[in-house]
Amino acid sequence: MNILYDEQLDGALTRVDKAAVLDDLQQALPDMTLLHREEDLRPFECDGLSAYRVMPMLVAMPHTLDQVETLMRHCHALGVPVVTRGAGTGLSGGALPLEQGVLLVMSRFAKILEVDPDARTARVQPGVRNLAISEAAAPHGLYYAPDPSSQIACSIGGNVAENAGGVHCLKYGLTVHNVLRIEVITIEGERMTLGSEAFDAPGFDLLALFTGSEGMLGVITEITVKLLPKPESAKVLMASFDDVEKAGKAVGDIIAAGIVPGGLEMMDKLAIKAAEDFVKAGYPTEAEAILLCELDGVEADVDDDCNTVRGVLEAAGATDIAQARDDAERARFWAGRKNAFPAVGRMSPDYYCMDGTIPRRELPRVLMGIARLSEESGLPVANVFHAGDGNMHPLILFDANKPGELELAEDVGGKILELCVEAGGSITGEHGVGREKINQMCSQFQPDELSVFHAVKSAFDASRLLNPGKNIPTLQRCAEFGAMHVHKGELPHPDLPRF
């Protein structure tokens, strides 16, 4: 898979001379940290998708908005691409640098500017860690709901850029549901406010458009998030099943009973074993699947719901149902799930994490498909599943030191995503397209739909300087990739320029 930027497929970039760009930026921004030596650039060559590495031309680490503004104006004038990076924890290579580009690192904007308990909002800079917002809000009995598993490290700016999720999405929503306002600096160096402190803003919902746009439309410089009151009570049930399909059906039964759990997670046998070996969560290693169901809210309702869910799980054929007796046991149950990725990492030299979503009813069919792909390739696959909202995280185990295994893992991963698309789902639920899934976008969308995305992009960044090569593939790339929607090799709109 040609994952690195390819000018033939992804569009030509302006030829620039590193020394000249460095000189221009140093003159314009004498007080801004600008890294240019190889040893300084090295730490920035990848994000959380560490299999792919590119040395950026320069790394800019501004600490004032004026610097960001000036940097954008100069990059725009020089035709230098800008890749924005937060904490670098993203799993889809959204912050993968460009050899001919500036990597704009926003980590120095790390202040919580204001927590307003009466308005139930927090105004923060983009480099603030996700968990730090909840920590700052905690004294007021409030918290920030989206909780991606990297929440101790990932930054809120990156969360907005990727529309990050977490284990509580079904009930509390994604980032897009929990952000009120963002401040943006455009590629031309203009400042604008999208959304407002109120619940809506006049005009188009550009806040929604920018959320999850992967740094392709502007640079996010400040975020106002909604805070929620902490639920009074949260209880967790763990149900064991001797059959994955039964567990999948139980998920639907819980929803059908009118319950919307705070969290509803499923793990298969391999994931259970990995987690148990790693954190001793108390998981039943003989089970084929477990469900973790968290019910939260007002104490009395939670107790009622626990009883209802217990009945549903029994009827669905659970072989064992355990309820966490106290907060310590509840934390232990969750620790197994939240550490599933590193736990699987201990079983295998490398793993490749997928992020497809499907309608829940398709779960048995998709799991069977994954098992078949695993068998054919000889690569074990552990399944961790945000079951409530249909977001699967199959983890493909491989050894990058064995020749051909990385490519094999990528191939299996690509096929898993295509299974998700066929089932009516999506290639990414919360990790983003980035560079990783750029080719699978050709399966998810038709060329006409991709053309609309390109039109949107060009309204905000006509010169294609913001994070080029990510998120939306060119029609040329899809033609080359053998996209299913390119009929008999003929591209639609033969008159359109192919970048």
């Binding site: 307003d116 009466d118 139930r120 529309n163 999720g165 929503g173 897009v176 203009e190 604008m192 999208l194 407002s196 402190e197 109120a198 619940f199 809506d200 006049p202 005009g203 188009f204 919902d205 550009l206 929604a208 458009l209 999850g212 929803i255 059908a256 009118g258 319950i259 919307v260 809210g297 007002v298 104490e299 009395a300 309702d301 009622d304 979503t357 309608p359 009813r361 945000h386 249909g390 698309v421 066929e422 009516g424 789902g425 999506s426 990414t428 639920g429 397209v433 899934k437 976008m441 998810q444 038709q446 006409d448 739909e449 609309v452 039109a455 309204a459 905000f460 998120n471 939306i472 929607h485």
Partner: protein, 371 residues
């Protein structure tokens, strides 16, 4: 590999009819685009008052109706844009579910497409979310007359730009919505509404305090000396909270009347204009002439006033919000119903419109002049 979209309509005949009608709509759009003829996109016409008047050939969505796909266990429903809102709500109700953002109808002919295009939400909005929060995907006719699909029928989907949410509230100025997929939720086990007499200052203080607590609150409106509350949730918590808060029992119909602007406050027997102020949660009472009704826990305020647009918008902006005039200009309302955009934001609105509707055929001027 082929993309399947679960288009197994409950009724194959309807599905075929739906495709035929969609193709006719596409054809009308193609013709309009070729001739740069403005189109006035119309559903049931119940929200035609909302925004600036549009001159153009009518593109009617009402024939494009029907529920395409509803799977209660998935919490997802896909509906054609011309479907009456009442029909969708009845289908959801039969399965014990609902659209949590309780969209206003403003008349029996309200369609699903109109509800989404205007993006309006009812009293539950601060607690449950807005129309845009429940839109998972859509089908859209682009200016060149192609029906395309964005988003989907899954809860989480971050592939590509979020075109579906961009369409919510865009009032048809960027494309024609033909089908919408929503996330739906179960109705709660228990509901109770209360009326507590208190002055507005006390009500706002209480609401700020309650906002920090995990109460089963899903609506809060103050008017005429009393705070009106709705509690929804489990039987136990609703009963316990009602006991704790006290007050008198309120008919649940109050919330429908508020949402539909049927309360006496909204009576059109006076010549004052009706304004909607959208404000941050903890905004104190504003010094504006006229009658005020507080909804959304104070974050949405209805004002009947003779004050001029500038005064109202200035007061809303100072508080961190904005103001929309609901009374049409022809009936004495403001010339520009929506708060003007800042120059940079306006520039990107124009550029986006120019890219998605280069010949300016979709509801031109409905939101802003020239857009």
């Amino acid at each position: 590999m082929t993309r399947t979209h679960h288009e197994q309509d409950a009724h194959p005949v309807q599905a075929e009819r739906g495709q035929d009608i969609a193709e006719q709509l596409c054809e009308q759009v193609r013709r309009a685009d070729a001739n740069a003829t403005p189109l006035r996109i119309a559903g049931g016409g119940t929200k035609a008052f909302y925004g600036r008047p549009v001159e153009g050939e009518t593109l009617s969505l009402t024939e494009h109706h029907g529920i395409v796909h509803y799977d209660p266990v998935e919490l997802v429903v896909s509906v054609r844009a011309g479907t009456p809102l009442t029909e969708l709500e009845a289908a959801l109700d039969a399965e014990g579910q609902r659209l949590p953002f309780e969209p206003p109808h403003f008349g029996p002919d309200a369609t699903v497409g109109g509800a989404v295009a205007t993006g309006l939400s009812g009293p539950r909005r601060p607690w449950a979310g807005a129309a845009r929060d429940f839109v998972l995907g859509c089908r859209l006719i682009t200016h060149d007359g192609k029906q395309l699909r964005f988003g989907g029928e899954v809860m989480k989907n971050v592939a590509g730009y979020d075109l579906s949410r961009l369409m919510v509230g865009a009032q048809g100025t960027l494309g024609v919505l033909t089908e919408i997929s929503f996330k739906v939720l179960p109705r709660p086990a228990a509901t109770r509404s209360l009326r507590l007499e208190m002055p507005v200052e006390t009500a706002l203080e209480r609401l700020a305090e309650w906002g920090r607590q995990p109460l089963p609150l899903t609506a809060a409106a103050w008017h005429d000396g009393a705070l009106h509350l709705r509690l929804e949730g489990g039987t136990s918590s609703v009963a316990a909270t009602a006991e704790r808060l006290g007050g008198d029992t309120l008919e649940a119909e109050f919330w429908n009347n508020l949402r539909e602007q049927r309360l006496a406050f909204f009576g059109d027997d006076d010549s004052r204009a009706l304004w909607r102020l959208s404000l941050p949660n903890n905004t104190p009472a504003l010094a504006l002439d006229g009658d005020m009704l507080y909804d959304w826990g104070g974050a949405q305020r209805w004002l009947k006033t003779t004050a001029d647009a500038e005064t109202i918008r200035e007061a809303a902006a100072r508080a961190g919000g904005h103001a929309t005039c609901y009374t049409p200009h022809a009936q004495g309302g403001a010339r520009d119903p929506f708060t003007p955009l800042s120059p940079v934001v306006a520039k990107y609105h124009r550029q986006l419109k120019a890219k998605l509707d280069p010949n300016g055929i979709f509801n031109p001027g409905r939101l802003y002049e020239g857009l």
